[in-house]
């Protein structure tokens, strides 16, 4: 047998510091909140202590953002804003390796993903939106669309830097200023992004980055002087925020959960479908709101596909996020691991057939072996609830109509996958999907030019593309 020797990326590259501070009004400052300890989910060791915000700090950040909006950023010509945003894009590229290693340390995702997906996509978002800053009049929202003011943004832990980019870049391009709160378990790359913003010499207060748990997020989203709220996270919290903002007139966009169907028709390119299924549910440990967590496979190819899938999933290497050969890294937190375990137990209890990869798992850290449930029915919790982990539920269908009906039978509607070689069937199925992103013969592709966002309880508003600008303009 050929065992790959460990090939770890050096953690020194992350320039990890013992303490991280919040970024308010152009300065790194201590918050008055209880400092939090951020943990490496791959090893369970504490990485750093991070200062967090008390309500007064949130207030300070919003005030700074308001000042920056009124005095500088809101009135700066788009062409000047553009140059600042381009600078950020370049600085992210320059410090790409550092950011990738830091992201894998803090989040637990494999280095090959932080290196090849998260960081490049983050840079691309800034680069793309920089170009919009002086062209907003051509975006289809009237000749001179105005910014909204101060944007309060709260992001999740699954793509910490990339989500920060998705939020900050369009806000700045449209002329808003920002108060951003990264997730409690993954604050580090956002705070390094703050360093980058400082290096780019953005005027103080244009971007403010806080740290803390849900209470800080709630303080940001409910702050009366915030004009626009953008939230990515669970549907549960999204509803709370929507309720909070009811009657305030503040603009809101939500990017929430999902339970995407990945439909494989009998004429699919099966080997690539297997790759797409694997990428759809095991990418980023399945911590993806648009993960293809429900596999709908046509009965006539179900056995063959499942066999290929098991074989392929068995080759996934689970372990040290910093190892360049790791395919599936660590679950982001013990809490999330427990949640996954609990949902998987309901799958067992409700009679689904569980298959788990025999891959070895590290002794320390939060890991969960890739798991595939077959004989799943729509009524089971594992087919309805977002597991947000490396767990796939396999259902079958007989006819295209049945596939569509099952795919759409969920209150969510973020994404969907279609696998078939027949062009007309692709377009038919894509049209029938009640989902904001449809990947045909591919899965989990992201690009700043392509609008992303959900139907129904997966949220509203889009990120990316011309359409995404609407969220940050007063139109």
């Amino acid at each position: 047998m050929w065992e790959y020797a460990p090939a770890p990326e050096s953690r020194d590259i992350a320039n990890l510091k013992p303490n991280y501070r919040m970024f308010i009004d152009g300065q790194f400052v201590e918050g008055a909140g209880e400092p939090l300890k951020t943990v490496n989910p791959g090893t369970e060791e504490v990485l750093a202590e991070v200062s967090t915000a008390a309500p007064a700090d949130v207030d300070k950040a919003v005030k700074a953002a308001r000042r920056a909006y009124d005095r500088v950023w809101g009135r700066m010509p788009g062409s000047e804003r553009a140059k600042y945003i381009f600078r950020i894009a370049r600085l992210i590229q320059e410090r790409g390796r550092e950011l990738a290693v830091l992201e894998s340390l803090d989040n637990g995702k494999p280095i090959k993903e932080s290196r090849d997906v998260d960081v490049p996509t983050a840079a691309a978002h800034f680069f793309y939106h920089a170009g919009w800053a002086d062209k907003l009049g051509y975006a289809g929202y009237g000749p001179d669309p105005r910014p909204l003011g101060v944007a309060g943004q709260v992001i999740p832990w699954n793509f910490p830097l990339m989500m920060a980019a998705w939020k900050i870049a369009p806000a700045l391009a449209c002329g808003n200023t920002v108060v951003l709160k990264p997730a409690e378990t993954t604050p580090l790359t956002a705070l390094v992004l703050a360093e980058i913003i400082q290096q780019a010499d953005l005027p103080p207060g244009v971007v403010n980055i806080l740290a803390g748990a849900g209470d800080v997020g709630a303080a940001v989203t409910s702050h009366p002087d915030v004009d626009k709220v953008a939230f990515t996270g669970s549907t549960e919290v999204g509803k709370i925020i929507q309720r909070q903002l009811a009657g305030t007139g503040r603009k809101l966009t939500l990017e929430l959960g999902g339970k995407a169907a990945n439909i494989v028709f009998d004429d699919a390119p099966l080997d690539q479908a297997v790759e797409g299924i694997v990428n759809g549910i095991f990418f980023n440990q399945g911590h993806v709101c648009c993960a293809g967590s429900r596999l709908l496979v046509q009965e006539s190819v179900a056995d063959e596909l499942l066999e290929k899938l098991h074989a392929r999933v068995s080759t996934l290497r689970v372990g040290d996020p910093l190892d360049k050969n790791t395919d599936v890294g660590a679950i982001n937190s013990r809490e999330q691991l427990t949640k996954i375990q609990q949902l998987v137990e309901t799958g067992d209890a409700e009679g689904a057939e569980r298959w788990t990869s025999a891959c070895p798992l590290p002794d320390k850290g939060f890991y969960f072996a890739p798991t595939v449930f077959s004989n799943v029915s729509q009524a089971m919790r594992i087919a309805r609830e977002e597991i947000f982990g490396p767990v796939l539920s396999v259902l079958t269908f007989r006819t295209p109509d049945e596939a569509v009906a099952k795919a759409n039978n969920t209150p969510y509607g973020l994404s969907a996958g279609i696998w078939t070689e027949k062009g007309s069937r692709i377009l038919w199925a894509a049209q029938k999907m009640r989902a904001g992103v449809v990947w045909a013969n591919t899965f989990n592709r992201f690009d700043p030019t392509a609008p992303f966002g959900g139907y129904q309880e997966s949220g509203f508003g889009r990120e990316g593309g011309r359409t995404g600008l609407e969220a940050y303009l007063d139109v």
Binding site: G142, A430, T442, D447, P451, Q456
Partner: protein
Amino acid sequence: MSDRISVAKTYKLYIGGAFPRSESGRSYPVVDAKGTFLANAAQGSRKDARDAVTVARKAFPGWSGATAYNRGQVLYRVAEVLEGRREQFIAEVAAAEGVAVKKAQSLVDTAIDRWVWYAGWTDKVATVLGGSNPVAGPYFSFSLPEPTGVVAVLAPQQSSLLGLISVVAPVIATGNTAVVVSSQDRPLPAVTLSEVLATSDLPGGVVNVLTGRTAEIAPWLASHADVNALDLTGAPESTRADLERSAAGTVKRVLRARPSEDFTREPDLARLRAFLETKTVWHPMGV
């Protein structure tokens, strides 16, 4: 004055292409601007609202799946029939809103023209709001606007026809189906519009019109899990925040009321965009 006794109309609800009375058996008197009795209107209930949502959902696949050209023709047909009822609308608007006949003429004409304007949008909105995304990779990616589903519309309280048409037309032009709660005190033009819709080629269930107490019906629509979006334009101010909170229960899209919206002004695309989703599709390019 003729000696003939005129045939008075019974004003009913419009649900699924039919004109039922309220299941509650209730009605309420409608008076003109001077307080003179005009008619009894049906006082819709939460069950009427529920029934309307059911038929609106049932009508959604057909209406959203119809070609944009077909939707355009159907809507244009509605304008043709509206034009034929011009005199009736003028009389009803004048009575309801207490404006002079000349003003009422202008409001009705603008309303009909507004309908024609939206009829023309059905097959242009995808071109204007959609497009291809030049992604960095061997994929073709495109984004299309798609209707969000069943939209509950609380029609403006003041502008009984122009306002009504200005909020209903964009909802259905983009392929949504609608459950409309008409102006509470000025519902008669809405019922007459229903009769126009019923005699045009609009499939039953695409537009459903409830008359009655807005504050009574709206909460049931705002919390209904099978309603995708909510237009708060005609919601009484004191109820708006509560309705929005209710709507959050299933993450509905909410179009908030704009302070004293002037419906005589030429609209922008905001109402067309409000109830559209963007769907992005990706496919690899290869041999």
